[in-house]
């Protein structure tokens, strides 16, 4: 995949030239100057999506200087002399929790269609054109559901914008819990102090800054996230990749679809979109604890007590993230920095390890605040990156098997260290993609305790020395007890999963192999160093109970329907719609009706499960040469079997999930419910490159009564205002 470190200068130059040539096409594609169909017509990509093997275009073409058997390879990201584990890992940057009163204009139930003068640099806009200030589709279907019942109590104001120095960093903990980082010191956007600062349009993050952002949420406390698009109006100002239109998915919120970040509900520069996150327990409108009598369904009241809330406490969630979901451009935009995390606190998972009320699980966190203590509760974003010879972030959309970076970052810092005390810590680990799988172990082989999978605490803790593979968008919550180490010890997180391409893991290595440094994959090996620096100032009273959150009991919930989907290659695209239909290497087949493998079309409804029903979905990998982490939006599911048996489902996968790794040739049976909210959602591969090319389908819950129609009209965003068109409906929907 990458050139060997001892490659000749000629070969490196040749590969770099290939990358630059390719970058011209990538840029043209990213800014809409050309489409995939154009590239197909011109023979620059194959029907399967690979860039043609033309010398000077594809870095993998046989080199004039090679011996004929060695591909030219890809230039490695230059490190400018930087060594691993020479910078502290920054904790996340907390989003200020503000009063909704600061929102100007005030949020509205339906989209705010107040007109503003549009920037003529926007595509399709001429001087004098006007368009709405909010990009949310207008009208009652996209109105915030139950807005009066759940008025926002917290406002998060965020922007999406180009890289700039952070002068307002708030990690939420003292420097001693942040490896000594002084938050008052300005932080430029760079992956290491020894690496170049990123240009303004090389990286686009929330608020334009690093470290990545963290939203502190609490059940029963509705949030309004106002996301303002401050990306360049000129679509060409992207430093080679990234689309300036965005849509923000709260992964995996049990919210109305208007807040889900639907892939076709994007908004433009100088618009905002109000996302309403009510933070309710699933089942609250479906007959479960509707009157809030069960203390297990509860939320911190701010003064050490609990407030009961309606819904099923078995559906309590803990660890989310939010990210861009722009149709055909999710990989570019998330890779470019549109990634943040959400912690959700509840009576059960309170983020306070001292309160002993019979509900609180007292997981490692801290004790100073009523809820949401972060001293010993640490978010980690894993993301593999690559940069060009100038050190600027680089991406290649022609790696349609999946893009692999050669530099592993944690919280957007290249191979950092993190100081810890001799006690238990909780780590909420997110694989932010775009394509790589991780398999995590500690460098001394010591045990870890897995307590959560995706957004949810497991029914029971699981003790492991090697975690299962972690696919893109999956989250593993683990606890590491550093009390076993003496002060001065260094222990590392290690990646055992070796890739040769972005399709799947080539080999799960042994720990010894991964530590040897002999892998051809630069993503293998140590990527985060823990330095045990002191004893805790106070005794560690945190707990990791055997029983965490049992799964919801579905025994009395009938299965309304079983559907079967296959995820594979060679998809057809029956639609010629220039906006909603994509073409690409990947697709989804509805096997229930023996349909063809279809590429994404967000104007096509492929499933219409009924409101307040439960279904079984069979997810089948159509090939042995790839893996897919399949994400189903909206409500958490349970895996009933893998390859025909529950025995094949690891203990750490037996909780609720929202991403389902198929494994090569694998088949999963999952079950989920459809309740409480309405609208259009998605199912897709979360290898974001596969998703963009075009392994995605729309489904919707649309029979809950007015204003919802069956099927729902498809939004078509324009700067002048969203219009709607009639959808098509799959014959088995």
């Amino acid at each position: 995949m990458w050139l060997p470190t001892k490659a000749s200068k000629l070969r490196i130059r040749e590969a770099e030239n290939a990358r630059r040539n390719r970058q011209e096409i990538i840029k043209a594609r990213s800014i809409g100057q050309i489409s995939r169909r154009d590239l197909l017509k011109w023979g620059l990509i194959t029907g399967t999506g690979a860039l043609m093997w033309k010398q000077g275009l594809n870095a993998f073409v046989r080199s004039a200087y090679a011996d004929g058997s060695i591909p030219t390879g890809f230039p490695r990201s230059p490190l400018f002399g930087v060594l691993p584990f020479t910078q502290p890992m920054p904790r996340f940057d907390l989003l200020p929790r503000q009063s909704p009163a600061v929102l100007n204009p005030a949020p509205t139930k339906e989209a705010n269609t107040t007109l503003q003068l549009l920037d003529p640099q926007l595509e399709g806009v001429v001087a004098g054109d006007r368009g709405p200030i909010e990009g949310r589709p207008p009208g009652p279907i996209w109105a915030h559901q139950r807005f009066e019942q759940f008025p926002p109590q917290i406002a998060f104001l965020v922007t999406q914008e180009g890289a700039k120095t952070n002068t307002v960093y708030n990690p939420g903990v003292a420097p001693e819990h942040n490896s000594g980082i002084n938050p008052a010191t300005p932080i430029p956007v760079r992956f290491h102090p020894g690496l170049p600062t990123q240009n303004v349009n090389s990286v686009w993050t929330f608020n334009g800054t690093v470290p990545p952002k963290l939203a502190i949420n609490r059940y029963g406390e509705p949030v309004l996230l106002r996301h303002r698009n401050k990306l360049p109006a000129d679509i060409r100002q992207n430093n080679g990749f990234g689309r300036h239109t965005i849509t923000t998915h709260e992964h995996n919120g049990h919210h109305g679809a208007e807040n889900d970040g639907f892939t076709g509900a994007w908004f433009f520069p100088n618009q905002f979109y109000d996302y309403h996150w009510p933070w309710v327990l699933a089942g609250l409108f479906s007959g479960i604890n509707e009157t809030a009598t069960d203390i297990m369904a509860s939320t911190p009241n701010g003064s050490g007590g609990l407030t009961k809330i309606p819904g099923d406490w078995h559906e309590t969630m803990s660890t989310h993230w939010f990210h861009d979901h722009m149709f055909e451009h999710t990989a570019e935009n998330t890779y470019k920095g549109n990634v943040a995390m959400s912690n959700i606190y509840s009576g059960l998972d309170r983020g306070n390890e001292t309160i002993n009320d019979g509900v609180n699980l007292r997981l490692p966190s801290g004790r100073l605040k009523d809820f949401g203590n972060l001293e010993y509760d640490v978010n980690l974003i894993l993301a593999d990156k690559a940069w060009d010879q100038d050190g600027q972030l680089h991406f290649d959309i022609f790696d349609r098997d999946g893009f692999l970076g050669d530099a592993i970052t944690v919280n957007l810092a290249y191979k950092p260290f993190f100081n810890v005390e001799r006690r238990k810590y909780r780590f909420r680990i997110l694989n932010a993609g775009p394509s790589r799988f991780y398999k995590i172990a500690l460098s001394d082989g010591s045990a870890m305790i897995q307590i959560g999978n995706d957004g949810n605490l497991l029914p029971r803790k699981v003790i492991l020395t090697q975690l299962d593979e972690l696919g893109v968008a999956e989250r593993y919550d683990i606890v590491i007890d550093f009390s076993r180490y003496s002060i001065g010890t260094k222990v590392h997180m290690v990646n055992l999963a070796e890739h040769e391409d972005g399709r799947l893991v080539a080999d799960d290595l042994s720990l010894a192999e991964a530590l040897s440094g002999n892998s051809s994959d630069p993503g293998v090996g140590r990527f985060l160093e823990f330095r045990v620096v002191r004893n805790p100032a106070q005794p560690d009273v945190s707990q990791v109970p055997d029983v965490l959150i049992p799964n919801p009991n579905l025994a009395n919930v009938p299965v309304a329907r079983t559907r079967e989907f296959e995820f594979g290659r060679g998809a057809d695209q029956p639609s010629n719609d220039p906006v909603t239909a994509s073409v690409g290497e990947w697709g989804i087949r509805d096997r229930t009706g023996q349909d063809d493998m279809l590429a994404a079309d967000f104007g096509r409804v492929s499933a219409q499960p009924g409101s307040r029903t439960r279904e079984v979905w069979i997810l089948r990998n159509g090939g042995g040469g790839w893996d897919h982490p399949i994400h189903i939006h909206f409500e958490e599911g349970q895996i009933l079997s893998r390859d025909g048996s529950l025995n094949n489902v690891p203990q750490a996968e037996r909780g609720r999930k929202d991403v389902y790794r198929l494994r090569p040739g694998g088949e999963l049976r999952i079950t989920m419910q459809f309740r409480d909210w309405q609208g259009m959602f998605m199912q897709h591969c979360h290898n974001t490159v596969h998703e963009d090319h075009a392994m995605l389908m729309r489904w919707e819950i649309n029979n809950g009564g007015a204003p919802f129609l069956r099927p729902l009209p498809t939004p078509i965003p324009r700067p002048q205002g969203v219009i709607f068109q009639a959808p098509t409906v799959g014959r088995n929907a």
């Binding site: 043609m52 803790k461 080999d507 090569p664």
Partner: protein, 170 residues
């Protein structure tokens, strides 16, 4: 919103057309390679491997013995020609005895290993173990199970296997 072609610049067009070696705007039909995903076949087999060995350390060394179960599943790859071996290394029938206390130690969770198909693989996995009946994670210790495995390249079945248990030494 795809007003893409309207923004197309002559310069970019020329670059791309030159790279493509075809006239800009040519309407050449593209030959798509047919997918072959319908030919996917998988097979699986389970093999027992007797293993033993000692994990040294505090509070006591533990002598392990028993039969490891290795399930190997061959997943064919008609599209790219790189079959995959999915292995499950189940050590639940391997148990240990404390050399000082004679207490029983158990291993809980199977380990999943994904490899490309090859005639043989050396597979080494770490595993946590604890005293039987304990759920105290802080008492969990680590052992290493190593296997030398040969495979039938047509079925993925294990044709010969040896294994041992040892102390971690990383």
């Amino acid at each position: 919103m795809k007003i893409r072609k309207a923004l197309f610049t002559p310069v970019a067009l020329a670059v791309l057309a030159a790279l493509a070696g075809v006239p800009a705007g040519a309407q050449n039909a593209v030959m798509l390679s047919a997918p072959t995903t319908t030919n996917l076949l998988t097979t699986s087999s389970v093999s027992g491997v007797v293993i033993k060995g000692i994990v040294s350390g505090q509070p006591e060394s533990v002598s392990f013995s028993g039969q490891a179960q290795i399930e190997s599943r061959l997943v064919r790859d008609p599209d790219f020609g790189r079959p995959v071996l999915l292995m499950t290394v189940d050590l639940s029938s391997v148990s240990g005895v404390g050399q000082s206390t004679k207490a029983k130690y158990v291993i809980a969770n199977p380990e999943l290993v994904q490899r490309h198909l090859a005639p043989s693989h050396d597979v080494e996995v770490t595993f946590p173990f604890m005293k039987s009946g304990s759920t105290d994670a802080s008492s969990a210790r680590t052992g290493v199970a190593s296997f030398s495995l040969s495979f039938n390249p047509d079925t993925g079945a294990v044709t010969s296997a040896t294994g041992k248990v040892a102390s971690p030494n990383f």
